[in-house]
Amino acid sequence: MPALKERPKPFVLPEFCKGCGRCISACPKHCISMGTEINPQTGLTPVILDLEHCNGCGLCIDACPEPYGLQQTPADADYELQDPAKLFGDRMTDAPEPVDIPNEIIPLQKMEPLVLKGNYAAAVGALLAGCRHFFGYPITPSTEGAELMAKLLPHLDGMFLQAVSEVAAVNMMYGCGGAGMRCLTFTSSPGFSLMLEGISYMIGSEVPAVFMNVMRGGPGLGNIAPEQADIKLCCRGLGHGNTHAIVLTPSTPQEMLDLTMLAFDLAFKYRNPVVIASDGYLGQMTGKVSLPESMVKPGIPAWGVWGDKDHRRNLISSIYLAETDLEAWNVHLNEKYEAMKVEQRADLYMCDDAEVVLVACTTPSRMAKGAVGALRAKGIKAGLFRPITVWPFPIEKFKTVLPNAKRIVVVEASNGQLEDELKLALANARICDYPEIENVRHFGGVLPQLEEIVTKVVAGQEVTV
């Protein structure tokens, strides 16, 4: 007669028992009792097993909240075994080291330019950059971007999802970007405010994504006309913590496309969100847009939490409980911000001999450019310095205009946010010797106009003379 096959009985290492006693009431045979001796290693009182009446039902194991608490005794158990590595194995994980699946660059033939609204141009740029995932919440004057994505993404087997709020949208991007995919949102100032929490998490856990902020009038509900009053937010206020992101400032529908494509490259190069700060005019403005020479078929980065064996090791997280761990992480992030400074970009228009340097970005830079022509016609040596990145501020290029500059005039649609970036960049570069900064400012949705820039400069010249 074969020996009666016994079910395996439980055992527990006292060090891994917290003495909660949930197993005690679970045992129908009353084999388990609360201990009396405090374990010197844990300071807790583990339970005591008396297995004389145990029939191996396993209910105690199901009741134990600890993964390495009550266990079934292995068939070949060595009861003296106390080393967890020997007992449970020494693997942390058996998942393989993650590998990069690289992007593919697909060349495009030369084609007739399109006539597109700025928001559409940015959406087309995203599609050509390999973005197939869009999460957003409708907000004027950015909505056309979302609308075009809603129309086109299903035809390209992509995903468009209108979230319950900007808060949800940014977190969908956090998940999708964390999986390693290229995703985008269109929003405008009040919506961008709501996304800042998520952006902070994304920066903290190195998740790339592209945010198109079509800036409108504020504060509060403000209006839907163009403003540049989120420059402070984009450059200095991306949520809590020590955050930064590259901030691109397009000035034409063409740049809405080009800089959106660039934004994806930069976002993945640095594993960091990229913000495109455009304005209500640019979003709504229709113009001529040429297509790029190539488009991107994205791969999957090694770090992505993609959901397969090759990426099982990965973790997207921004929590570092130990102060020293968080400091080390912040040091890493700050080194990255420092490295991003090579991405400074600016467009210099007639700056070579400029004595009056206008500084402007997004739509106001167009009026400023017009003003340069008008001033030159009056014999005033004017030039336009147009930052394409406001963070990092293109200070290296700005240095080149300083030797000739007798006047600096910042033209902007905010209460001096671009000027603050310029001043901070000058201070950080230890440049103290520069002309007093003048300004032409509007806010509320009115943009600085060509004539008033000219008037301001001309009036100043007379005073100087």
């Binding site: 290693q41 956090y174 959901g307």
Partner: protein
């Protein structure tokens, strides 16, 4: 046996060394460990460890990723379902679990859980309800019972601080979820049910059937200030009457989650973005500098439905087809229909610099308020074209401004479609200013209507009538 879905060693602060390498950070008797175990066992059993992405919330289970040997993401407070959706849509083959506590899910994340559930996309949500905030130190949760004392309801919860949130019932009232069950952990029978429920909630996702939600009534002995045994009793005696156990919804839905991979096929992408149109023929020999030297600014103003924006876009297309730069900016009132609708257009031989038209060289006014508002802005040498069908009295304009009335609405009505009055206006614009040759406009109109060919003849007629009507006014 231990499940392979747990790490062999937990990478806690001591980086897996010593006691912490094999013990959770949960307090003795906490329900989280049990829910973790049942989840790990289900992942093992379904063979989905490699495909699983677990979303850790904020709360005591923020460190879920210490334990599960799967892809891990740690989400902002309350946002785990949104993060989970991001993962699921990024890789539809991944199995995504959002694990949340009561503060995370039923308070700060209420919008996210409700909207995600309603989407019905197959993800699995494990909701741990222990009626209290654990990590922050025993404050009132949305699920705290009436009269229950917590750090922020020291005299017991009153109706002033709301009633306990019954999430399983709320979820089951939505159309999105296919499976909603509330389970508990206080005795072997309940634990067995909890195990099965978690298994089922995952299986439903694996089969691509839909959104599944399991609420687990769990114990928090530390903050209830009770022994683990007393806490089990408390859950049974106090929580159960408020949060009845059982299946709240179990709908049979056939597997439907079958998502194609994104395409990057060049031809399809180009077709979708509208690229590859043939080059339009050119009819201009030089820039129309007789209208303005280098940059012509136009304003088209009317009310919504007048077609000002469409006409503006046609001018931009015409300008760009001729090799010039051109821009259009719309401005609307807050109304979707019937409000003001203004379009600023520029055509430049170089680059359009100021896209707005505060002092337009040409104004097309479709109604009286628009004419009154913008007419005086037109500088000497400029042109105003207005719809004389609706504007019968003229206010004085600046000297040297050409003012031309064309009965746009009447012409359009006679043609059988009031909507084409904007094309009549374009004809008038052509005749009054000669900004582009007729063929330039007609080409732009034909190309815009290439998918509605039947409309082309009427639009051509409208244009010709506009030309004719303006020419007649101009002759004397």
């Amino acid at each position: 046996m231990s499940t392979t879905s747990f790490y062999g060693k937990f990478d806690r602060h001591s980086h897996g060394e010593g006691l912490k390498g094999h013990a959770t950070h949960y307090c003795p008797g906490c329900g989280h460990g049990l829910a973790h175990k049942y989840l790990a066992e289900a992942i093992d059993d379904l063979g989905i460890q490699d495909r699983t992405v677990a979303v850790s919330p904020v709360g005591c289970s923020v460190f879920l990723y210490y334990y599960f040997d799967v892809g891990n993401t740690q989400a902002p407070h309350g946002r785990a379902p949104a993060v989970a959706i991001g993962h699921k849509l990024a890789n539809p083959e991944s199995i995504v679990v959002s694990y949340q506590g009561d503060g995370d899910l039923a308070s700060i994340g209420l919008a996210e859980i409700v909207s995600t559930a309603q989407l019905g996309i197959p993800i699995t949500v494990i909701f741990i309800n222990n009626a209290i905030y654990g990590m922050t130190g025993g404050q009132m949760a949305p699920t705290t019972l009436m009269g229950q004392r917590t750090a922020t309801s020291p005299d017991g919860r009153t109706s002033f601080t709301g009633m306990p949130m019954k999430m399983a019932e709320l979820m089951s009232g939505l159309d999105g979820p296919v499976y909603v069950e509330r389970v508990a952990l206080f005795n072997p029978k309940q634990r067995n049910r909890a195990k099965k429920a978690i298994h089922k909630a995952l299986q439903i996702q694996v089969e691509g059937r839909g959104f599944a939600f399991v609420e687990v009534l769990a114990e928090c002995p530390t903050h209830l200030k009770k022994t683990p045994e007393e806490t089990e009793k408390w859950v049974e005696e106090m929580m159960l009457p408020v949060f009845p156990l059982g299946v709240k919804k179990d709908e049979t839905r056939e597997p439907w989650w079958n998502i194609a991979k994104p395409t990057f096929e060049t031809a399809r992408v180009l077709k979708e973005i509208g690229a590859g149109e043939e080059k339009a023929p050119r009819y201009c020999t030089t820039f129309p500098s007789h209208v303005a030297p280098h940059d012509i600014s136009l304003k088209l103003a009317g009310s919504g439905g007048d077609g000002a924006q469409t006409a503006a876009m046609l001018i931009v297309h015409a300008g760009i087809n001729e090799g010039f730069d051109a821009t259009h900016i719309p401005a609307y009132g807050p109304e979707s229909r019937g409000g003001t609708s203004y379009a600023d257009v520029h055509v430049a031989d170089g680059e359009v610099l100021s896209p707005a038209s505060p002092k337009p060289d040409v104004l097309i006014a479709f109604n009286m308020p628009s004419l009154v508002k913008f007419g005086p802005d037109v500088p000497p040498g400029g042109t105003i074209i207005y719809d004389s069908s609706v504007i019968h009295e003229l206010t004085p304009m600046r000297a040297g401004v050409k003012v031309i009335g064309v009965p746009m609405s009447e012409i359009a009505k006679d043609l059988g479609k009031i909507m084409v009055k904007n094309i009549v206006a374009l004809g008038a614009l052509q005749a009054a200013t000669g900004i582009f040759p007729k063929e330039t406009f007609l080409t732009a109109v034909r190309r815009a209507l290439k998918d509605k060919c039947a409309m082309i003849p009427m639009n051509e007629q409208a244009f010709e009538w506009g030309v004719k009507a303006a020419s007649e006014v101009l002759v004397p």
